[in-house]
């Protein structure tokens, strides 16, 4: 990449005026602060990128200051994911680049795992080490025993490597630790999963129901933007949450539900909508299967019944159901994102799907639209070998409806077990801090200790890197090309990520790493292009564009092949289910031996003196990925535990005090956490933001600040349908005496 400053012609958005203005302001000169001067000088050309701070992948432009240092990132106006406005994490992405604690050189472990004893190595050494081990493992156990955990763009290349070797075991923790149950539930109901970003027509909805979504604290950029548009248009928001979330603060109805009882409320809503005949009759008639079964099933699940379970007034249940029906079909019962709560999550999301189906929102304006994506041709390569064994063949009866590899599944299948005759031997971990991602840290460590090889690819020295055999320092998204983004949206789009700077220190992109390993492992044919730019250019030329064009525009929008954003009136839609219809009664679930329609299950309640541990997001962070980011830790550098004033009074707690938390299994938080006494949380729960309490000292900005909820999630409620790990079944109590412990501040 050229390092000379180039004045690339900027697109028509007032660039000429901006340039002239820059010169003009320079003439004014003396009165400006350094900040102002630097900003105007920053217009030395811009580079297109798409953000890597979270999975939303908003496209944007990177600007550098007059010294060539990355200064500012803004959104690309053409991008449907962000509409020209990045969220705070994306805006703060510059911090990821400038973070002084970044990994700099490859590291190879010198002593026992976990002793944090590493030596710096050259890339050649590191690749040779890894390749040797993989060859041995493949020969002894088979390449299927190598697994990849990924939550980053680099994962694409490691995936190619693994599949080239013959392993299908590519796990994204975002499935079984996050959205898995809803993918399975919606797949079972509508025949398709939701993907990212979800096809929610929020900007045109008249009623948005958030049950288990804290949009606004959860910064899904496009959805927060559209929620704001919806508010402008007078849409109603109904929020169901035991905590007074930001969204609850903007809602017409906030239902302060008792935790773990959401399914009862959903069933009661279904009951009201069916019994008062508020459902979309023609839609249900034409498109759904199993209505009569459903009607019978929810016959007795009245609002009065639900009231006893959820503590939500039956009048409110009826009113909100009518509100939804009134708005239908422009109504969205939001499927949520992180839905692995109590182990019956697939069934709960089935209820959400059923409710949406009854209201007729699927495929309608203001409900769920039909996305279109774009298929970019892959560069020619030999066919992937068929794996000799997969987790499906080894565990045919487990999690029958899961359709991808489960991260926790791989983890469990790495822990030695006499009842199994095989286990995973090697992990490659890319862009996910498994120690904080997988609940039950003890189990994760057991698995790690049983590995023959652990390779961690990351930009920061996250906790997981401390356990690795080899740490490969990845350069940030601002320093590399990556696969073109072709996510599904209202219109198909292609977005380019190009480097705005050379990789820092001795860091490298994943493409390079995977390719070098492929060379040594004899599968280089699967990486036909030596330089990624050439691969991208080839791919783009196949579809009538080019790398040069994409560098200029950043995002290319293509027309939909069919004008079918929503169903036509009376359209004959075929759903990819067994019956070809929307299955209110799920034949797939029935076939796998599960309840075809959701039933309410009672979940464990906190014992006396304990409070349910609830966790969530803050809009300025994306958990570990931003924990050490200087710009974002400026906004929030520790979490607090929210305690209801009644509880605080009982325990003598006040805001600003630090306490330890202990859970029902006696697990104590590693670091003390600050108390926030607030009316926003129910008296039977506490709440904290996930992503703090880091134990890795190399993360100098966030080490020891706040507490980690993952620390305290020792009881995992596994969903038998698809293996999702329910994490909300843990209860904590307080330890107020810190015994002279110093608080990191």
């Amino acid at each position: 990449m050229a390092t000379r400053r180039q004045f690339i012609r900027i697109s028509a958005m007032g660039a000429g005026a901006v340039m002239a203005g820059a010169a003009g302001i320079r003439l004014l000169g003396a009165g400006l602060t350094d900040g102002q001067k630097a900003t105007l000088a920053a217009l030395t050309g811009r580079t297109p990128t798409y953000c890597e701070v979270c999975f939303w992948k908003c496209a944007g432009w990177v600007y550098k200051d007059d010294k060539g240092s990355i200064q500012k990132i803004i959104g690309n106006n053409e991008d449907l994911n962000c509409n020209g406005r990045l969220c705070p994490r994306g805006t703060g992405g510059v911090g990821m680049y400038h973070d002084e604690d970044r990994l700099r050189k490859p590291l190879i472990r010198t002593d026992d795992r976990g002793t944090q004893s590493f030596r710096e190595a050259t890339w050649e050494e590191a690749f040779d080490y890894i390749a040797e081990k993989i060859k041995v493992i493949s020969a002894e156990h088979g390449p299927e025993c190598i697994a990849l955990f990924t939550h980053g763009s680099g994962g694409k290349y490691f995936s190619t490597l693994l599949r080239a070797l013959g392993s299908p075991h590519i796990a994204a923790p975002s499935y079984a630790q996050c959205r898995g149950p809803r993918e399975v539930a919606f797949q079972a109901t509508f025949g398709e999963s939701l993907d990212s970003p979800e096809p929610l027509d929020i900007r045109d909805t008249k009623c948005l129901v958030l049950i288990g979504s804290h949009l606004g604290e959860n910064m899904h950029n496009g959805q927060v933007q559209e929620m704001s548009d919806a508010i402008d248009k007078g849409a109603t928001i109904i929020t169901v949450d035991p905590r007074f979330s930001t969204a609850a603060g903007k809602s017409k109805y906030w239902l302060p539900i008792k935790p773990a009882t959401d399914l009862a409320l959903l069933l009661a809503w279904i009951n009201v909508i069916i019994s008062e005949e508020l459902y979309d009759k023609p839609y249900v008639e034409k498109y759904t299967y199993g209505f009569e079964y459903l009607k019978e099933h929810v016959k007795n699940m009245t609002p009065e019944w639900a009231y006893g379970i959820t503590t939500i007034d039956p009048t409110v249940i009826r009113e909100t159901a009518r509100e939804m029906a009134n708005a239908a079909p422009a109504v969205i019962v939001h499927p949520g994102r992180h839905v692995t709560w109590y182990g019956d999550d697939t069934q709960r999301l089935r209820a959400v799907a059923i409710l949406n189906a009854l209201l007729g929102s699927w495929g309608r304006r203001g409900g769920f639209f039909r996305t279109e994506t774009f298929a970019l041709p892959e560069p020619p390569h030999p066919a992937y070998p068929t794996p000799k064994r997969t987790w499906r063949t080894e565990f045919p009866d487990l999690y029958k409806l899961a359709d991808t590899v489960l991260a926790n599944g791989v983890c469990d299948a790495t822990v030695p077990d006499p009842s199994r005759n095989c286990k995973f031997q090697a992990w490659i971990v890319n862009g996910t801090n498994l120690m904080e991602t997988l609940p039950n840290q003890e189990n994760t460590l057991k698995a790690i200790q049983a590995l023959q090889l652990l390779v961690v690819v990351d930009t920061m020295p996250m906790e997981i890197t401390g356990w690795a055999d080899v740490v490969l320092p990845e350069c940030t998204y601002l320093e590399r090309y990556d696969d073109l983004r072709v996510g599904p949206h209202r219109k198909p789009q292609i977005a380019l990520r190009a480097p705005a700077a050379e990789p820092s220190s001795d860091t490298k992109p994943a493409f390079y790493m995977a390719r070098e390993l492929a060379k040594r492992l004899g599968v280089i044919d699967y990486f036909p292009f030596e330089k990624i730019e050439d691969q991208l250019d080839w791919q783009l030329k196949q579809v009538g564009s080019s790398l040069e064009e994409m560098k200029r525009i950043g995002v290319k929008t293509l027309d939909r092949t069919a004008d079918d954003l929503y169903f036509y009136p009376d359209e004959d839609v075929e759903f990819y289910t067994a019956t070809g219809k929307i299955e209110l009664y799920s034949t797939a679930l029935e076939g796998a031996g599960f309840d075809p329609m959701p039933k309410y299950t009672v979940h464990e309640e906190p014992p006396a003196g304990f409070y349910r541990l609830n966790y969530g997001r803050a809009p300025m962070h994306t958990f570990s990925r931003t924990s050490n980011n200087p710009n974002l830790t400026d906004l929030m550098d520790e979490n607090s535990v929210w305690v209801n004033p009644r509880v605080a009074k009982e325990w003598g707690l006040s805001t600003g005090q630090y306490v330890h938390l202990v859970n029902q299994d006696g697990k104590k938080s590693e670091f003390p956490i600050r108390v926030r006494v607030t009316e926003r949380i129910r008296w039977d729960s506490v709440y904290m933001v996930h992503g703090f309490g880091h134990q890795e000292k190399k993360l100098r900005r966030c080490y020891g600040k706040g507490a980690s909820d993952t620390n305290l999630i020792t009881k995992v409620l596994v969903d038998p349908v698809m293996g999702g790990t329910g994490m909300r079944g843990n209860f904590v109590t307080f330890i107020t005496d810190l015994a002279g412990e110093e608080v990191v501040s």
Binding site: I73, R85, T91, Q225, K250, W254
Partner: protein, 177 residues
């Protein structure tokens, strides 16, 4: 010409994008901020109300900081924007003490710094960085003397308030309520 800003507290989600955008736009040093977000909670569970506000220098019409500055470093330019000339500032801190909104801070380089309504962008016809980035589009900026500007239009449509108007400062940052 009288510049002003309005923030819709009903749409603000407290994400603090405005704070980071300002930081990267204006090279605000890490550890400092020119704007910030305030959460006000009222009530008893479950009868609760929340207000979220993005705050910054109010570019007051009767600015105590400009009044008290002994060197004239704090001054007002066309449009009512209050600025600081770094080379005139002696770092005495009087303006910091005189601001009832705590909007100013001592820059590590010695002079006093604060929100400038991104005057360098406004002059080019752009909006301040915070307004331009806000994902909920809850921020408005413009010329109050122009009845068709964004801010004039929204202030006519919606009820609004300013912070501690009784302090006599004539703040020009409006909160839509």
């Amino acid at each position: 010409m009288r510049y002003a800003m309005a923030v819709d507290t009903k749409k603000c989600v407290g994400c603090s994008d405005c704070v980071v955008a300002c930081q990267t736009e204006n090279n605000v040093p890490i550890g400092f901020c020119r704007d910030w977000v305030v959460e006000v909670m009222d009530g008893t569970y479950p009868q609760l109300e929340i207000e979220l506000r993005s705050e910054r220098c109010n570019h007051c019409g009767n600015a105590p900081c400009v009044r008290c500055c002994p060197t004239g470093a704090s001054h007002i330019v066309d449009g009512g924007i209050v600025l600081v000339k770094p080379n005139k500032c002696i770092g005495c801190g009087a303006c910091i003490a005189s601001c009832p909104y705590d909007a100013r801070y001592p820059h590590p380089k010695g002079y006093v710094d604060k929100c400038t309504f991104c005057i360098h962008r406004v002059k080019e016809g752009m909006k301040p960085a915070c307004v331009a980035v806000c994902p909920t589009k809850c921020m408005y900026f413009g010329d109050l003397d122009d009845p068709n500007s964004d801010v004039s239009v929204i202030l006519r449509k919606r009820k609004s308030k300013t912070l501690i108007p009784e302090a006599g400062t004539q703040p020009q940052l409006y909160f839509l309520i």
